[in-house]
């Protein structure tokens, strides 16, 4: 699988309160959540993001609350993949569990610039900055996590097991 899009780049410690402020968590409606995505750090994000775009962050991306509304808002806003130097652990598992592709790739997260066009090849485990022409190697997923992703999320994967 490959995805391609323009990069929206943010810094270190992007927390779940800036991804989706708690005052909007009185709903689980995904469209409403997406319309507020990144409001705390980039008020224009929801208006400018296009389907397939890529989000890049620094260290400890997604730190803070366990709210799954955060990866849901990012996924629903059309983002095809989040790359970061490191992810906070609850955000990491939530993204996997709901089927939002994420990759730890410190070099790419550091060097790719805001607005660059990038392509991610999940099978090859590469991130390519099409604007600069540079290619980066990402950490591949362990098999256990590939299994969850191939089923389209955790619950489908559990259902699959029960049927086997």
């Amino acid at each position: 699988m490959k995805v391609k899009g323009y990069v929206h780049k943010y810094g270190d410690n992007i927390d779940t309160d800036v991804i989706i402020p708690a005052r909007y968590l009185n709903t689980s409606d995904v469209k409403e959540l997406a319309s507020r995505c990144m409001e705390g750090v980039d008020a224009e994000f929801a208006g400018k993001v296009r389907r397939g775009d890529i989000m890049a962050g620094g260290a400890n991306f997604g730190c803070g609350s366990s709210r799954e509304h955060a990866p849901i808002a990012i996924k629903e806003s059309g983002v095809s993949c989040v790359i970061a130097k490191t992810f906070a652990r609850i955000f990491y598992r939530n993204a996997i569990n709901i089927g939002l592709p994420i990759l730890e790739c410190p070099e790419a997260a550091e060097e790719i610039r805001n607005g660059d066009e990038a392509e991610i090849d999940f099978d090859a485990g590469t991130v390519t900055d099409l604007t600069s022409g540079k290619r980066y190697k990402a950490e591949p997923f362990p098999d256990f996590i590939k299994e969850i992703i191939s089923h389209g999320g955790l619950l489908n994967s559990i259902k699959g097991e029960k049927h086997e």
């Binding site: 609350s65 709210r67 990866p71 598992r93 559990i158």
Partner: protein, 417 residues
């Protein structure tokens, strides 16, 4: 292979003799927790996936604490959805306004967590129960849905950082100052994916409330869980709360750690985390003149009876500064009632504080005390991210109950000196 305390609990719940760091396991949960924000998403996913029964109606807790008493129609609808799910599946531990408390104060108080147990919760501060020698960690709503259906969760076995405690806390210094200073030391991702394991001779000088507060904030250092060894203080605390059998685990003497820190409790000073990260700490003397508009004393971090006592003793016979709103929110109904019985409610009210029933409320900018642009708040809560308590141009300063109470009187950040 020697194991850390967390690894032993995970091995037991995975049905394995031993586990090593990095291994992916499936483990059985003794309790699956959700609140009024995360449970609706879990219920949707549970039903969408076609599950028709929960794994054990006695081992699920649904705690309506974040936006309750319902702050608006949407919040009310979310609680209603949870209530209907609880009734349909016979969930024993459903709590709403009237019997609710802030979840991580409520579960220990009700004896719902015990040493050696494994608890997952769709709330990041689920790591609080490590104070009792349990493995507990925050997960998302999908994990919660899977947990409600199967009673299991997947984990990557973590390495641990060991904190050896010595000495005794000084006056007006609490567990909050200890954990803030540790986060300041190792950083907000200093324990990323790792356990933070606490032990040592100084541990016996920390109350359960201090330990609950410290374990609570291990997630602010990126930790997967915080865990304290079990001692007399733990056993005294649970003696009138937990009737079922439980197992006490201790780390192996030769367990390997990713890092070891020696913390002398007698050297910990009143500590404040400045905006906008819990690791952005300064100690008393480095703070300068920071005028404030609001004080919040409460939350799953510092809304327990000892926190109320600390604040009440400082506020007794005093008035909050003009222009400062001071909100006192005991974390559970039981603590609320104790505050009335012990005269704290009167002290707070006479000092000019708002004294409120349990809710997470302002901690996450939900309701009952949200900030306007440019306003500053000293809070005994756990996060001071941009916009956490309201407007994105407001500021939150994290501190313990003593600094919060002194600041309410002074109208600026103060440790009372």
């Amino acid at each position: 292979m020697p194991m850390t305390m967390t690894q032993k609990i995970l091995a037991k719940h995975a049905g394995a003799d031993s586990v090593t760091a990095g291994r992916l396991i499936k483990a059985k949960a003794d309790m699956v927790l959700g609140n009024d924000i995360t449970s609706p998403v879990a219920v949707n996913e549970f039903e969408k996936a076609g599950f028709d029964r929960v794994f054990d109606a006695k081992k699920i807790a649904l705690v309506m604490d974040h936006f309750t008493p319902n702050k608006d129609v949407k919040a009310a609808e979310q609680c209603k959805q949870c209530r209907e799910f609880a009734v349909k599946h016979g969930i024993e531990h459903f709590y709403d306004s009237g019997d609710v408390g802030v979840e991580h104060a409520l579960l220990p108080e009700k004896g719902m967590v015990a040493p050696g147990e494994l608890i997952i919760g769709a709330d990041s501060h689920t790591c609080t129960y490590g104070a009792l020698g349990a493995f507990s960690t925050g997960v998302g709503s999908t994990d919660m849905a899977a947990g409600m259906a199967t009673g299991e969760a997947w984990f990557k076995v973590p390495e641990a950082i060991r904190f050896n405690l010595t000495g005794k806390l000084g006056e007006n210094v609490s567990g909050k100052d200890v954990i803030l200073s540790i986060i300041g030391l190792i950083g907000v991702d200093g324990a990323l994916y790792k356990s933070m394991e606490f032990g040592g001779e100084g541990m016996g000088n920390l109350s359960i409330d201090d330990r609950l507060c410290m374990a609570n904030m291990t997630v602010e250092a990126g930790g997967k869980n915080g865990i304290f060894e079990v001692d007399r203080v733990t056993l005294d605390y649970i003696s009138d709360k937990v009737e079922r059998d439980y197992e006490i685990f201790s780390p192996d003497k030769d367990a390997e750690y990713a890092g070891v820190f020696d913390i002398d409790l007698s050297g910990v000073k009143p500590t404040v985390a400045f905006p906008h990260l819990p690791g952005n700490t300064k100690t008393v003397g480095e703070i300068g003149d920071v005028k404030i508009d609001q004080v919040v004393i409460g939350s799953c971090t510092n809304g327990r009876l000892s926190d109320m006592r600390t604040a009440a003793e400082i506020l007794k016979g005093k008035k909050t500064a003009k222009g400062v709103r001071c909100l006192v929110i005991p974390a559970t109904q039981k603590i609320f009632l104790e505050c009335i019985r012990l005269g704290y409610a009167e002290i707070f009210t006479e000092a000019g504080c708002v004294f409120n029933t349990p809710t997470c409320g302002p901690c996450l900018g939900g309701h009952t005390g949200v900030l306007a642009a440019g306003e500053r708040c000293v809070a005994t809560t756990n996060r001071n991210f941009v916009g956490r308590m309201g407007h994105k141009d407001s500021e939150v300063y994290l501190a313990g109950p003593a600094v919060a109470a002194y600041s309410a009187i002074a109208g600026k950040i103060s440790a009372g000196e």
